[in-house]
Structure formats: C-alpha cells, structure tokens
C-alpha cells in the first residue's frame, strides 16, 4: 500500500500540475452557475482540445490512437490534478471518452479506431448513447429497435425503432447504438452494435421534459435510417458484448463526487438552530455529515483499489458498480438533509440564491444517479450474483427466441 507517488509518478504529477497551472485558469467555470447547454458543450469541446494539444488526452490510450500511452495510475493522477480546478467536464466529452472510445477501441476495426478515437479525444466529436428503449431499461436486452440489411446489395443497414433517455442526443454529433438484427434467437444473441451520425436523415430527437425542469434526455426516433456497414462495431449478433464493454467503462468511470460535504458543514455551522446554537451543534446533523464525509472518502479509496486491480490486468467485474450504488444514495441523503437544515427557506430561492438552487438541484438530480447506468436494484443483483456467487434471478425469457416472447 502506498498512497504516495513513486518517483516517476511524482514527476508526472509535477509536470501535469505545471501544465494545468498554465492552461486551466482560463477555462475555469464560475462557481454555482449553470450554463446553457450549448455554451457548456462549446466550453467542454474547447477544454478537451486544449488537453489534447497539451498531450494529456486519453492518458491510457496508445499513442498510435492519439493517446498518451500512460498507466492507469497516471490517469488517476491527472484526474486528481484536473479536479483542483472547476473545469468544463460533462456529458459532451465524457460519454465519448468513457463509453464510445472503449467500445470502438476493443471491438472496432483499425479503420474505425483511426476515424473516431483521435477525433473524440480532440473534442471534435461528441457522443450520445442510444441504448435504452421504452421496454428495455434495466432489462436492456429486451430492445426492439431493428436493424435489417438494405435489399439493394449495398450492405447498408436500415434502422427503425425508438430509443429513450438518450442524454444530450439533441446536441451531440454521433451516437453509439445497439439494435436487434435477429429476432429468431434469444434476446441477448440477436443484437448488433453500430455508431451513427446523428445528422442522418430519419433520426428525430425529441427532448423530454424532466422533473428538474431541464431537458437533458431525449426520445430518439429512427425511421428508415440508413447506416453503412462500415459503421457496424464488432460482428453481427455480438452487440451484447459491446454493451457490456460500454457499461463497464461507465461504471468504472463513475467517480465518487464530492457532493461538497465540507461546504455543507460550514453551512450547517452558519445556520441557527433556534436554540441559541447552530445546526452543526445538533447531534444528528454532526453524525450524518461526518458519516457522509467518511463514506465519500471510502468511495475514493475504493475506487483507487479498483484502479489498482485494473492496472494489474485484473477485471473488477460487478465490483465496479459498488461506488455508484453507494454514491447515489449518499447524495440523495445528504442533499435531502441539507434542505431540511435550511428550513422552510429551502423550498424557494431568490434569483441571487445560488446555494439554495444548488441544494434543490442536487436533491432532484440524485434520483437520476440511482437509476442511470444501472438502477440500484440491478447493481445489487449483479453484486449478489457475480461477486457473492448467489443464484441468478428466475428469467422467464431465457433461451426463448425473441420473436416468440409475449
């Protein structure tokens, strides 16, 4: 166990820190301000390009693909140093880097890697994920969007169907798409993976109004959308393996967010409790905040343990979902507590009251975190079955050809 850097890691950290000190301040976002999506997207692209030009994009990717060829620990060091600044990170770059690149890197061919990976690292290409459907959420393999070969001999695929919860699909360039190419086999076997240009005719993206008031998610409709076979990733019928690669990347990439517990403690200390003291004098508040802080640290060290496993070539498997499971519930609990601390004032925010709006946003947003990327219940099933070796759930549709279901 060594939480200190080795000499080479220390050298990399110093180099990264110096580079960030020179380049990051110009890109830092103002605290507590939520930018319009288009502006956020642009800032993310610009920062990503800056990182790429500096030689720090895709730390663990081979240099031949535009990456740095570094170690996983280097990537951790980079992330730690980058986190010192409030930089424009978010869906417009992270879905591409955390999900599209891994699946193209692992299952794509040489041409596809050359075409997509470096462009994504440069921030030139942004991505959305076209997985979930109205009847295929937690039961992802139940999806119905169809891809069939065009009958003109071109080898192209014609896509018809509907996706849902496609985050930021309205603003991104490309999508990673899984569709059914064979309904005569059980549901996991007839799937094939594609990448799709979101400007292709026949794609209609309809924003979904969320409980937060924002519209980050969309319904995406495919009507006779034509995709060249060159945009198929991996073999026909092997889409499920591609999905698993994406989901593993998503879970390992789900960082434990600080959720600002230190700030919450300050805030509790500044809030009168009506008995001559502050909210922080109350035992239940102290305990809840201290436990949340302890858990946040535990998530961070646990993630470091997972990365150590990966750096040795071990596969953490379903353990990768543990951090998201813990983090999402913690965020919901602490943001809920924070609203209670504020008292009735938590339910209404004046224009200048960014702090209250932040609390409200965190509380609303925490509900997404418990669902997206594997609902709590799905992750707990996976941990039980794959880490603890408990029996699988009874699956009524196992071994039944998809087109004979229901």
């Amino acid at each position: 166990m060594d939480f200190n850097d080795s000499p080479s890691e220390a050298a990399f950290r110093a180099e990264a820190r110096a580079w960030l000190a020179a380049h990051a301040p110009a890109h830092v976002l103002p605290e507590g301000v939520r930018l319009p999506d288009t502006e956020q997207a642009e800032r993310e692209r610009v920062w990503q390009r800056t990182v790429y030009d500096g030689g720090y994009a895709g730390i663990v990717l081979p240099t031949a693909l535009g990456g740095r060829g570094g170690s996983i620990i280097d990537a951790v060091i980079w992330a730690e140093e980058e986190a010192r600044y409030n930089l424009p990170h978010g869906p417009f770059t992270t879905i591409g880097i955390g999900m599209a690149i891994p699946v193209i890197g692992k299952h794509g061919n040489g041409e596809q890697r050359a075409r997509f990976i470096e462009a994504t690292l440069k921030g030139d290409l942004t991505w959305c994920q076209l997985f979930s459907e109205p009847s295929a959420g937690s039961d992802l393999a139940n999806l119905r969007t169809k891809a069939v070969r065009a009958d003109d001999g071109s080898g192209d695929w014609i896509i018809n169907g509907q996706k849902v919860w496609s985050s930021w699909a309205h603003l991104t360039d490309w999508g990673i798409l899984v569709a059914r190419t064979d309904g005569s086999v059980p549901k996991h076997k007839g799937l094939t993976f594609f990448v799709v240009d979101m400007k292709t005719p026949g794609i209609e993206v309809r924003p979904i109004r969320q409980i937060s008031g924002a519209s980050d998610f969309n319904e995406t409709f495919f009507t006779d959308v034509r995709i060249p076979d060159a945009n198929r990733i991996g073999a026909v019928g092997e889409g499920w393996a591609c999905c698993m690669t994406v989901l593993m990347g998503e879970r390992l990439g789900t960082a434990s967010h600080g959720s600002r517990i230190g700030e919450l403690m300050d805030y509790a200390q500044a809030t009168p409790d009506g008995r001559g003291g502050t909210a922080l004098d109350q035992g239940h508040v102290r305990l809840a905040l201290a436990e949340a802080y302890a858990e946040e640290r535990a998530e961070r060290w646990f993630q470091a343990r997972l990365r150590t496993m990966v750096s040795r070539g071990e596969n953490p498997g379903a353990m990768a979902g543990m951090v998201k499971l813990a983090y999402a519930r913690r965020l919901q609990k602490t943001s809920g507590l924070a609203m209670e601390l504020r008292g009735p004032a938590a339910i209404a925010a004046a224009a200048a009251d960014a702090a209250t709006r932040d609390l409200q946003h965190d509380y609303i947003w925490s509900t997404v975190m418990r669902i997206a990327g594997g609902a709590d219940e799905v992750l707990r099933n996976q941990i039980a079955e794959r880490v603890l070796g408990m029996p699988g759930d009874i699956r009524a549709d196992k071994d039944v050809p998809f087109d004979q279901l229901r």
């Binding site: 951790v76 700030e263 905040l289 302890a294 640290r297 535990a298 941990i383 603890l388 029996p391 759930d393």
Partner: protein, 368 residues
C-alpha cells in the same frame, strides 16, 4: 500509488488466517463461554510464538518493527476469528501507549514482555456511562485512587495503562490497593472488569497529550478487526442462504436476500478502503491521521453493524440459538462499536479536522 496490500502483507494475512482458522472453531468458542473462561491462553502463546504480538513493537524492544498496516492485517484476522485474546488491550492499546508516551525506561521495562506475550496489558479509560476517557481518576504524587470501568481483559493483565484526560500512567495490577471485580460482559469472549484503585502506585508517562493519537491508532486497528468480523458474517450468511431451501428454491435466490447481502458487501468494501488508508496514514501521514482514523472508525461501525445484524436475520430463528454462530459476531460488533468511542465521539473528531471546511480546530475543538 498502489492501493492494495503488498505480497508480504497478503502472506502475513494467510499465515494468521491459517492459524486462527484452525484454533478457533465455533465449538471451541462455545466451550470457552460455557467454561466461563477469561481468555484463550493457548492461542495467545501460539500468537506470541508466531511473532504476531510484537509485530508493531520496535526491534530495540523485542518486536519486529513492522507497520500499522501489518498490524492491521493481523487485527483483521483476529476479528474474522472472533478470537478470545487480549490483543487489542495489550498490543493495540497498552503497548502502543507506552511506545507513544512512555519514557525510555518505561519502554525498556515493559515493551519486551508485551511483545513476547509474557506481560499482558490492559487500557483503563472509561469511568462508567459517559465519555470514552474519564478524568476523575487522576494520578497525584505517583498515587492513584478511584474506579475505572469497564476495563477489558483486566483479570489477566499485569499492568493497566490508565488514561485520565490527557494523561497516561502505568499501574501494576498485582499490588495492594488494586481490586479487580469481574463484570457481566456483553461480549462473552472478552472478559471485562471494574478496577478500584485505593492509593495504588502509578507510574506517570511523560508523553502528555498523546491520548488522542493513541486512540486514532487504536481506531484504525478496531476498524480492521471490524472488517474481519464483517467478512466472517457475510461468509456465514452466504453459506447459510445458499444451502437453505425455502418455498422450493434456495433462500439465496430471493432478491430480498440478495440485495441485503449486496449492501453488506458494499459496506465492507467501503470500510476496508478507509481502514487501508487509515493504516497507511498512521505510518506515513500524521496530518491525515485524525480524519483517516475517524473515517475508518465510522465506516467500520456501519459495516459491522449491518453485517452482524443481517447475518443473524437471514438465519431466521436458528440464528437466535446458542448453537448457531451468529451471536459471537452480534455481540462482538456492539463491543467494538462502543469500546473506543461511539459514533458521536468520532463524528466530533472528524468534524473538528475536516480540511475543506472552516470548522477545523474552531468551534468544537479537540475531543478525546
């Protein structure tokens, strides 16, 4: 950076687990309880022979001079085995206290015996319901009077390290003026005592103000012990639910059971992660220690509590019998949850040291 135990530490764990696994079958623990035994003396001798007792004691004093993390590996295995030995009292508390706060003479006098297991120490801090460290019993002019309770392992101990406020003193227990009365211990595998001092001789340690650091270090070891106990609970619960049929299929196939044990597993991994960092911080980063120790302590209490309770729960009625093994951990968990400060105590300590808030060292101050 490397966030895993070294190969040597993994070997140490295996060695300890092998020995303890052989020597602490549950029937043996049940026999100790039925016999009203104070401890497992034979096991203590074996642990001494293996060098485990002196692991973290300096080489100059007959120990191996290993790290807190190495000691943590041993603590974890003792927790897994639910061993009835005074390791925590004698090594984690008494020997550590003397190493931290003792004079050269005190170290030379006591540490070699503690390292070899010939001398057993205990740690007397509490003075009844209330804070972890009482302050009423004080050493004045080399003499001590008053009552400390409960004190673990005091019946077999030769010396007590007595904590009073910020002060620490060594009191030999085989002297006139010391009366030890056995209490009804909730953890039936750890005997607890009341010690009455009546003008007994006490040897004050010069390292005033080391109590908080001592407790930080002990909190890390207690966290490792809890992780070991939690893992034993999870393993026991898993074995049971996989074997036990219910409504025509294994109990383990029900989501209610799967989700419960998945949550236990997550709690254990989180606790283990904080324990690892805490163990590292003891030796490598004193500035981080107060927060690392408090975080390890809080996560460990949470994990062990959940693991011990749910293990008994998934066993159903059989879990409530003396012949089932759940109760060893169910009792040990509560003992560990309160013996060196409850959650409120460690929450206070954590909040007083949070670096990214304005609170550190201000309003609440230090708590011992």
């Amino acid at each position: 950076m490397n966030f895993d135990l070294s190969d040597e530490q993994k070997m140490l764990a295996e060695q300890a687990r092998g020995l303890l696994g052989e020597r602490t079958p549950y029937d043996h623990l049940r026999r100790l309880i039925d016999d009203g035994a104070e401890w497992d003396e034979a096991l203590w001798r074996e642990l001494a022979e293996m060098g485990f007792l002196g692991a973290a004691i300096g080489e100059a004093h007959g120990g191996l001079g290993l790290t807190a993390l190495d000691l943590g590996v041993i603590s974890e295995e003792l927790g897994r085995a639910n061993a009835a030995v005074p390791f925590f009292s004698s090594i984690v508390l008494a020997a550590e206290a003397i190493s931290l706060a003792g004079s050269d003479e005190q170290k030379a006098r006591w540490l070699p015996g503690l390292a070899s297991g010939v001398v057993i120490g205990c740690f007397a801090a509490s003075e009844g319901p209330g804070p972890l460290v009482g302050a009423a019993v004080q050493c004045i002019g080399g003499r001590i009077s008053g009552t400390k309770f409960p004190v673990a392992d005091a019946g077999i101990a030769h010396i007590a390290v007595v904590a009073s406020g910020d002060a620490l003193a060594i009191v030999e227990l085989n002297q006139p003026g010391v009366t030890r009365t056995r209490l009804d211990s909730f953890d039936q595998l750890r005997a607890h005592y009341r010690i009455d001092f009546a003008d007994a001789v006490a040897d004050v340690m010069p390292g005033h103000g080391k109590v908080a650091t001592l407790l930080d270090r002990a909190a890390v070891q207690a966290a490792f012990e809890a992780v070991g106990g939690s893992e034993a609970c999870l393993a026991m619960g898993l074995t049971y639910v996989k074997d036990r049929p219910m409504f025509g299929r294994p109990l383990a196939s029900y989501q209610a059971i799967k989700h419960k044990l998945a949550d236990v597993a997550v709690g254990i991994e989180l606790a283990k992660s904080n324990a690892y960092f805490g163990g590292w911080a003891v030796d490598e980063s004193a500035d981080d220690l107060p927060i690392a120790a408090a975080a390890a302590r809080l996560s460990a209490i949470t994990a062990f509590e959940m693991a011990a309770r749910e293990n008994l729960q998934v066993h159903g009625g059989i879990g409530y019998t003396f012949d089932a093994n759940c109760h060893f951990y169910y009792r040990r968990e509560r003992m560990l949850a309160v013996n060196i400060g409850n959650r409120a105590h460690w929450a206070d300590r954590l909040i007083a040291h949070v670096p990214d808030s304005n609170i550190a060292q201000s309003a609440q101050g230090e708590t011992v």
